[in-house]
């Protein structure tokens, strides 16, 4: 058995967990968040929304099925640190190409293993998401480690989109007969999103986050898509303005996750930070119109504050909260009644997670088809 060096996970509030160095040795900082999915660590690692976060996996055995090229959600691993209890020594899956630890090491991700991840999760649940550092292979004092963690940047007020978005736009062609054209704003988009749209006959033009209205218009989109992404939505004022312009022109809009928060801000609602957020693939969301529950994939630390009952007024006409989270009543979806626009806080593209909400892409297509 390989003898590993000691490593420390140090929280903002001074709590320290001792474990073993895993993946890359060194030090790393980020916001400590826990993810409760039992499958899909590869999708989680490559989801840009986890940028600058140190992700704690609550499932104890991670890495069992290795890594493959097909399941990557973006071009790289984004997490700034990875915390697991029992990393697998072997990869056992017919599609596996590489093993998790070497992939993390190559990507420069500092990890820690062997810690009581449940104790850490309970701490984050009770005290809220907070800054964290992982230190391995170093001989720092506890005080020094805590000091370094407290010097690292906070998530509130962080604008991270510039770092995860792309420089130049690209095209994902429609599969089969083309039914619509969508301009998608990459705020940290996952590969599954354009794929699910293209499977429905949508041609998707993926734009950098700072594309202008004219640039988007140039592809003559039937609708605009706002992707997920990392960071604090309150830092995204210019994107909010862009969305307002789109809504003015009555072009159909669909936002998910970070995109939903921006959509909410464009409607005039504020966003706020949840204590520890929703990160998992088992979140029950109620579709208020149908009364049905969908089990959904979540990854967000912020949320939109809006009245969950009745109809509200915005400068773009009437609207309502379409979905709520049954665990904690958090707003999970918004829709305009007088203009073509809606958004959800969760991930209809799943990956990882259940496919219950994939119908929302159909709804987007119908909305665009209805506008023509």
């Amino acid at each position: 058995m390989k003898n590993r060096k000691s490593a420390y996970l140090v929280l903002d509030d001074g709590r320290i967990f001792e474990g073993e160095a895993w993946a890359k040795e060194g030090e790393t900082f980020g916001e400590a968040v826990f993810a409760t999915g039992m499958t899909g660590y590869q999708e989680t690692l490559t989801d840009p929304s986890y940028f600058r976060q140190v992700v704690v996996m609550t499932a104890p055995h991670i890495g069992n099925t290795g890594m493959n090229t097909v399941d990557e959600e973006s071009r790289r691993i984004w997490v700034s640190g990875f915390v697991v209890r029992d990393p697998s020594r072997i990869s056992s899956n017919w599609r596996s190409e590489r093993d998790l630890e070497s992939e993390l090491t190559e990507s420069g991700v500092v990890g820690i293993s062997g810690i009581d991840t449940r104790a850490l999760t309970r701490h984050l649940r009770d005290c809220g998401a907070m800054r964290v550092g992982i230190f391995s292979g170093e001989g720092l004092s506890r005080e020094e480690m805590i000091r370094r963690v407290r010097k690292s940047p906070e998530m509130v007020g962080a604008n991270l989109v510039t770092e995860v978005s792309i420089d130049t736009k690209y095209l994902v062609p429609a599969v089969g007969v083309k039914k619509a054209t969508v301009a998608a704003l990459d705020l940290g988009i996952k590969g599954a999103t354009p794929r699910l749209m293209s499977e429905r006959g949508i041609e998707v033009h993926v734009f950098p986050f700072n594309a202008t209205f004219d640039e988007l218009s140039a592809v003559r989109p039937d609708g605009i898509f706002l992707s997920n992404g990392p960071g604090d939505p309150s830092t995204m004022q210019s994107t909010v303005e862009l969305v307002r312009e789109i809504l003015q022109r009555e072009i159909p809009v669909f936002g998910i996750c970070f995109g939903h928060q921006i959509f909410g801000r464009a409607l005039g609602f504020e966003t706020y930070k949840l204590r520890f957020g929703h990160r998992g693939i088992n979140q029950p969301v109620l579709d208020k119109a149908s009364g049905k529950v969908e089990i959904t994939a979540h990854n967000h630390g912020f949320a939109v504050r809006a009245p969950t009952e009745g109809i509200f007024d915005t400068v773009f006409g009437r609207g309502r909260v379409s979905h709520i989270n049954l665990n904690d009543q958090v707003v999970e979806g918004l829709e305009l009644l007088d203009r073509p626009g809606f958004s959800v806080q969760y991930h209809p593209e799943a990956a990882a997670g259940p496919h219950d909400a994939a119908y929302l892409f159909d709804r987007f297509l119908h909305l665009m088809e209805g506008q023509r």
């Binding site: 499932a59 056992s92 810690i115 999760t121 998992g280 088992n282 029950p284």
Partner: protein
Amino acid sequence: MPKRSDIKSVLVIGSGPIVIGQACEFDYSGTQACRVLRSEGLRVILINSNPATIMTDPEFADATYIEPITTEFVTKVIEKERPDALLATLGGQTALNTAIKLHEAGVLEKHGVRLIGANVEAINRGENREIFKGIVESIGGESARSQICHRIEECITAAHEFNYPVVVRPSFTMGGLGSGIAKDESELREIAGAGLRYSPTTEVLIEESILGWKEFELEMMRDYKDNVVVICSIENFDPMGVHTGDSITVAPALTLTDVEYQKLRNLSINIIRSVGVDTGGCNIQFAVNPHDGRIVVIEMNPRVSRSSALASKATGFPIAKIAAKLAIGYSLDEIQNDITKETPASFEPTLDYIVVKIPRFNFEKFPAADPRLTTTMKSVGEAMAIGRSFPEALQKAMRSLEKKGYSFDFSPEGDLEYELEASRTPTESRIHHVQRALFLGAGVAKVHEVSKIDPWFLDQIEQINEMARELSEPGELTASLLRRAKRLGFSDQQIGSVTALKESDIRRKREGFGIHPVFKTVDTCAAEFQALTPYHYSSYDEESEVEPRTRPAVLILGSGPNRIGQGVEFDYSCVHAAFALKAMDYETVMINCNPETVSTDYDTADRLYFEPLTFEDVMEIYRAELAVGPVAGVVVQLGGQTPLGLAKALEDAGVPIVGTSPAAIDIAEDRGEFGALLIREQLRAPEFGLAYSYDDASAIAERVGYPVLVRPSYVLGGRGMEIVYDDQALASYISRATEISPDHPVLVDRFLDHATELDVDALFDGQELFLAGVMEHIEEAGIHSGDSACVLPPVDLSTQSLMEIRLATEKIARGVGVRGLINIQFAIEDGTLFVLEANPRASRTVPFVSKAIGVPLAKAAAQISLGKSIEQLRAEGMLPKSGDGQARGISVKEAVLPWNRFRKRDGSGVDALLGPEMRSTGEVMGRDDTFGKAFSKSQSAASGALPSTGAVFVSFADRDKAEGIRGTKKLFESGYKLFATSGTANALAKEGINVEQVRKFSEGKGPKGEMTALDLIEGGVVALVINTPFGSGPREDGWRIRTGAVARGIPIITTISGLNAAAEAMVAQRHGDFTVTSLQEWLR
């Protein structure tokens, strides 16, 4: 209020006796259902023939019918109670099949009873393989290529098309009964032939083999709004080819990517919708090809199943409870998650721990049976363990099985080739061969190649092996090494054996280092929300979650996995203790590792520890509970032999044992001390002696007189026990079945061969005796009491004898020092009372007696243990104001035997003979106002009704010929046609009994094609077989007759006393009408 206002009363059908494939998980689910329905203000009517269930306690239903679960009797209950609805999805295959039969007979329609949970169409779509296959195809899934066959020739043609091996699956049987894998035509004829007979629709499926693929199962729930959720994914450690009930299984699935898992999830959702399970649970099984990910849907159960119970315990999501709520009109989002109390049930549990289930087998009781595991379930129970890693959970589960030698062995010597070869075939011990092969250096790839077990699991076992090697290296056992070993699930005992130290040394070392497990919580949500229900498991991790408390705690030790001899009856008593001690305002703490039970429902005790029942594990829980509040003591007398065996060690370690003390237990269990007590009290026991050689044994037999009962002194529970009638048989037994030596003596008892055996259950508080009941065995002496039918009150026992028994019981209880329950077995021969044995604990018959007399014995025992007196209990109304237990009506307990589950390697059946070794898996209760009727009911409920018309085949051993006349005459006189072979026929004819003579099997068919006895049986000519065997060894004729009858499901009687009882029942049946009476009516 229930969402459906059209339902005011519901009939719930239970699952009947514990049999292989259908165990106490359905008591767990049924009990939950009854609780839910009653709390919703519905009138609950329950039918279940199994008295050893919590659900049949009078407080769980408004009207409880302990009656046979047959169309006839359920119809009577419906006619009497007129329920609005029938809930049949929580009582296993028995309830589902009964509901279908009631529907087909038009009973439901006639009385306006609606089937809730799943409708008939959905049940058929889920259970009919052809329709189901069509559904799978229609939603874009794949099934294994297969063909439905109704005749053996069709089976053979299909097999040629798919190439051997092929899988045979009979329709509408439970637990995979009758299914198997055929490698060639002769195997196919054997297996498919039996399958066609087992299937109520004479239908089997012949299927391409997907042996060696990975196997998964998803537990699903759906509500009327069409919300569908996955409660749990389960992965089989054993690849395809082993019934999931016989497989080691793991939750959650560990070797799937999200992409693959979501494919299974999508298929499951589409299947549950297309099958149309309106509300409630179902499970769907999949095979996944490890080389290309091809998914094949195997089957679904449109009901709550054994896996649902496992999934409920594994996740903390109570499937049956929620299913009951959904059935009466709630939707998932309207139901609260019990564990968090703030989130709804419309979500998918997520686990931050690993659950491992290992089946418990009893092959040692069926030495002739083929030990290879197939698609027919053979295990009799299971243990589950929870850990924070797979190795931890696996090793905990292995020690939870309480099977000596079942934990991993790390001795350096071994034969690698042998271990690899043994890893190829799935058997009970394959996991050991796999681990041994790895330990001897085979490597993961090689072991995967022979066993097809996923390399991930093998690497985990390899990590356990590596730790064992590290531990065995010379050098100090450091804190860090010890901690790492504990994290991999090693017990102190295992570490001791690897390091050549004693378990106690390891324990002391560990305590010195301050290395103790912490206790985590099963919370459905991986700690995302706070858990309010204390459902704990241990792990060597950092933070413990046991909450402080102020009330004194009582720890109740459960009985572990079900096995023959220690089944649901003991769980029943433990559950009662939890209820009774809660009522005394103690904080009740349950410790058990059997996922099928009511005791491991987090609703039963105040705190639940899902842990192995070993000294080490119990001590750690005691330590953890002592750290958070006062502990009044530990209850060991209700969970059977398992906790009783721990009592002494716990007491020595300073743990207070409440009730009967370990010293008292010792008196009862030590033959010498107990013998002395009997002499002191002037009570008699059969003469016996301890033999250290054959000559000793022969001398003792000479002294006490043949026949003698012989058994090795070092095994318990009737293992290896035999009755021998002469020197020759004694010599054969000694050489065949024992390793007689000065260290391993053999007990030789005088066998009372024409005695009546009696079982007594009683309570004693140190002052007063409450004699609950005296049960008379219906089978003669020499049949294990667990396998013998018995009747309460005794039918032919004099008042004089009863008084003598009471006196003896009191003397023994006082002499032993019982505080709580005691069970004593007596025998009366020629008017003399003999004491056979005394057990100072709850017995298997406690639930039966409690129901027969209407007194909760286990509750009373628990309260006596904590200091209440019988006088107090009488005043409080738990016990009658005065006197002993009074039986209401005549109650018969009958045992249920698993003969049809086991075959020899050549495919022929194992012999269906009773003996001193217990082999029954469960029991039923038949109750009425005459013995004949009560016995008749017990037979209907157990193995199949005795015939009311038709022919009976009779064949007696010579020594039984005179005795057998009485019962045979009764049958003849009430109009049953009789067949017999020559000897018996002549004996009967002399008594003026008309009988048609048939040829013996050994004589073969006559010149004109005259039938043999076996032809009669196989041709379905006779409806009942009576065959008493001679001596100890089975003879060809008798064995053919008995196995033939078992294979065709024809009731069989093998003893004269069984015949006499059956004759009375059959005469009663001729006189017609039976009525049904609820427990509440009996007790009124």
